[in-house]
């Protein structure tokens, strides 16, 4: 076979090549191609095919070894390939399992919560450790987190720090209170001091003024006394002088008394001031120190002034005393002399100085004798005095020394006290200054510390705030969700019950509506069925309008009517559309006409019984005609149940068909006519077509009428 093919190919190739006028080369190629291949070509082909198959299989196995997906695909698509692969490559590696990260989140959460707890605890410890910092948020913050006992513990913690430290607000309040108290005290103190100072100053000034006045008065008195002593004035002027002197004396005494009283008052005020200052000092308010110091200085200066004035007054007084003593002595001497003079010359009048013209010689002699006697007495006294002078002087000196010493001691003590006071004041001032400096420094340091502390507190508070916030949010969210689910559940329950009731009512309503609708529908169906039946009847009637040899009227109208009458009925619609188009447009032939026509067909079919594809010359026509004339068959013969091969003869078929037609079986006749072959078939073709049309139409119409009847029956049967 191969050789034949090759030869055929050869010849064909040659023919086409030669036909085209192609040069010799391809022919030679052709020839060489085909010349040596006859013997080993089969072997070559076998070898080539074996190689190809082996290469394909090996390549597949190699690639499967390299690519597991491809291996899997091949195993899936080609059966038993997995065994081959298993033999060649070994079992396939299992696919890499991708493990989901299971259960990592809870661990993380737990670790986070632990971290959180740990962070809380050192904070709590810090709170407890740091007693100075008012940390009220520390104890309450862990409280909501932990259990009740922890909360109890924390309340205890809260109580404990309250002993050492007070909460910030309280401290602040306290400090504010303290400040206010201090301020109040300060203001009161300063006001007190000022008042005291003011009054003391006033009184002291008054005292000083009084002392000055006393001094003035004493000085004036002394001066006047001296003047009175030394001046020689006429007696009336002397009396005025003495009167003036008396006035001066009284004034002096008065002013001295006043000065003394003022000094006493001043001293009392000074003591009071000192008491106030001491009280202020006892209060130990730092801010008041400068004012206290100032007050003390003032006090000291006042004291000093007062003392100086007092000493001046005292010296003046002593001077005045001397002068008054002198004046007293003089007066005494004068009085003595006067007395003596009076004793001697009683008749002399007092103002003996005016008596120089009136004195007698005796008087004068007695006077001179008295004077001489007096002079002698005086001389004697003077000598005595000179003798006792030294003793007197010594005693006086000693007395003076004593007095001087006393005075010195007093002065020294007062000066010492003053100095001491001064030094104390200076020291206090210096202390005050240093204290201020220290305080300023301390304040800056404290400020720095406070700043650092506030920063730290701020950070800590921020972190705590965040934590607390997130906590609170969590709690809020969880509680919210709970509430929401609860609410949803309740509403859902309500909704469900309501829906149930509504559904029940609705179902009943629907049932009622459906019953009514079904009634309506049933009636509608009945009407439709009736209509359908009517239209089908019309169609039937149109079928009967076929005249002999003429087709019926076109069925289109009736079919249209049917289609309209059964618009929703799919079956009827399908059937209506199943009618052949020729029947609609042109109508169908009746059975009788077909039957009549059949005889003509039969004649013709008999005449051309011998003609088919192979035999169709004119001679065959002649022979066929001859056969038809000479052959006799039964006019009608009952067709058997099964057609055998010999029954397929034209004449027999025609007689069977005639028989069936006579007995009204158009279908069988058509079937039998369909078995004709050749020219007879061609001749009967039209008739067959018409017969088919008629049969189809009749079938559809019968179906439709059956359907209409069934529907009508169904509707009448409906309850």
């Amino acid at each position: 076979m191969l050789r034949v093919c090759l030869k055929g190919a050869n010849s064909a190739a040659r023919k086409c090549l030669c036909g085209n006028g192609v040069p010799l080369h391809p022919l030679q190629q052709c020839r060489s191609y085909t010349s040596g291949g006859s013997g080993s070509s089969a072997g070559k082909i076998v070898a080539a095919s074996v190689l190809t198959v082996g290469g394909g299989v090996g390549g597949t196995i190699l690639y499967a070894n390299w690519d597991p997906k491809f291996r899997a695909n091949v195993e899936k698509s080609i059966p038993y390939s997995d065994q081959v692969f298993g033999l060649a490559l070994g079992p396939a590696a299992p696919p890499p399992v991708i493990n989901k990260p299971r259960k990592v989140e809870p661990v993380q959460i737990s670790s986070m919560s632990e971290m959180w707890k740990d962070s809380k605890q050192p904070k709590a410890k810090e709170v407890e450790k740091k007693a100075e910092q008012p940390d009220a948020e520390g104890p309450p913050a862990p409280a909501p987190q932990e259990t009740l006992e922890a909360a109890a513990k924390c309340t205890e913690c809260e109580h404990e720090p309250a002993v050492k430290e007070r909460p910030e607000g309280e401290v602040a309040a306290r400090l504010a209170e303290q400040d206010k108290a201090e301020q109040d005290l300060l203001t009161s103190l300063s006001s007190n001091l000022e008042d005291a100072l003011g009054s003391t100053a006033k009184v002291t000034l008054q005292a000083i003024g009084a002392q000055e006045a006393a001094l003035q008065a004493i000085a004036q008195h002394t001066r006047q006394l001296r003047e009175a002593m030394e001046a020689e004035a006429p007696p009336d002027k002397k009396s005025t002088q003495w009167r003036v002197l008396e006035d001066a004396l009284s004034e002096r005494s008065r002013s001295v008394d006043e000065a003394g009283a003022a000094v006493l008052k001043a001293k009392a005020e000074l003591d009071k001031l000192r008491g106030v200052i001491d009280g202020a000092k006892h209060l130990k308010i730092a801010a008041a120190r400068p004012s206290i110091l100032a007050a003390e200085e003032n006090l000291h200066s006042m004291v000093v002034d007062l003392d100086s004035v007092v000493t001046r007054v005292q010296t003046a007084q002593s001077e005045a005393k001397i002068v008054s003593q002198y004046s007293e002595l003089v007066n005494e001497a004068k009085a003595q002399f006067q007395k003596e003079l009076n004793s001697i010359t009683p008749e002399i009048q007092a103002n003996w100085k005016g008596l120089t013209g009136k004195l007698t010689q005796d008087d004068l002699n007695s006077l001179i004798a008295h004077a001489h006697r007096r002079i002698d007495q005086m001389n004697r006294e003077l000598a005595e005095q000179r003798v006792r002078e030294q003793i007197h002087i010594d005693s006086a000196l000693e007395q003076q020394k004593l007095e001087d010493k006393k005075a010195l001691e007093v002065a020294v003590s007062t000066a010492l006290e003053h100095n001491r006071e001064q030094m104390r004041l200076e020291q206090e001032k210096k202390v005050e200054e240093t204290r201020e400096v220290m305080e300023a420094e301390m304040r800056t340091q404290l400020r720095r510390q406070a700043a650092a502390h506030t920063d730290h507190l701020r950070d800590v508070l921020k972190v705590q705030e965040q934590e607390l916030r997130s906590e609170a949010e969590e709690i809020l969210n969880s509680s919210l969700m709970e509430k929401e689910t609860e609410y949803r559940r309740l509403t859902q329950d309500q909704l469900d019950s309501f829906t149930l009731d509504m559904n029940a009512a609705y179902a009943r309503l629907k049932g009622m509506e459906e019953a009514i609708d079904s009634h309506v529908i049933a009636e509608e169906e009945a009407r439709k069925a009736h209509q359908l039946w009517l239209s089908v009847e019309a169609l039937n009637y149109t079928l009967k309008t076929a005249a002999l040899n003429d087709p019926t009227e076109p069925l289109e109208g009736a079919v249209q009517a049917i289609k309209e009458s059964c618009a929703e009925d799919e079956f009827a619609q399908a059937l209506a559309t199943a009618l052949p188009s020729e029947s609609l447009s042109r109508g169908v032939y009746s059975e009788a006409s077909l039957r009549a026509r059949f005889y003509a067909i039969r004649q013709l079919a008999r005449r051309v019984a011998l003609i088919d594809e192979t035999r169709n010359s004119l001679y065959q026509y002649f022979l066929s005609y001859l056969q038809a004339m000479l052959l006799f068959e039964k006019a009608q013969e009952a067709p058997p149940a099964k057609l055998s091969a010999e029954d397929l003869d034209t004449f027999k078929l025609l007689s069977y068909a005639a028989y069936s037609l006579e007995h009204g079986d158009l279908e069988l006749a058509a079937k039998l006519v369909n078995q004709l072959k050749g020219e007879s078939r061609r001749v009967a073709q039209d008739w067959l077509k018409e017969a088919r049309l008629t049969l189809e139409t009749k079938q559809v119409v019968s179906l439709l009428s059956a359907y209409a009847n069934a529907v009508g029956l169904g509707t009448t049967m409906a309850p």
Partner: protein, 80 residues
Amino acid sequence: MSEKELGKKLDRCLADSAVKLGAGLGLGIVFSVVFFKRHTWPVAFGLGMGLGMAYTNCQNDLRAPYLIQRNIKVSNATKY
């Protein structure tokens, strides 16, 4: 109608044969008279040609349905 076809064909045949025969006769006579010195054989020839043509035409006409036309491709039988 397919049954009337045969009759029509035969009618055509007859008409055609009549025409052909007549034409053959005529041409034969003409040829015989003009070219062939009134021999009878051109007439017979013409008649025969006419008859033959008519026969062939009739045959072809009757065969026409069974002819396979060239422009219709015959599909490969080995397909199924």
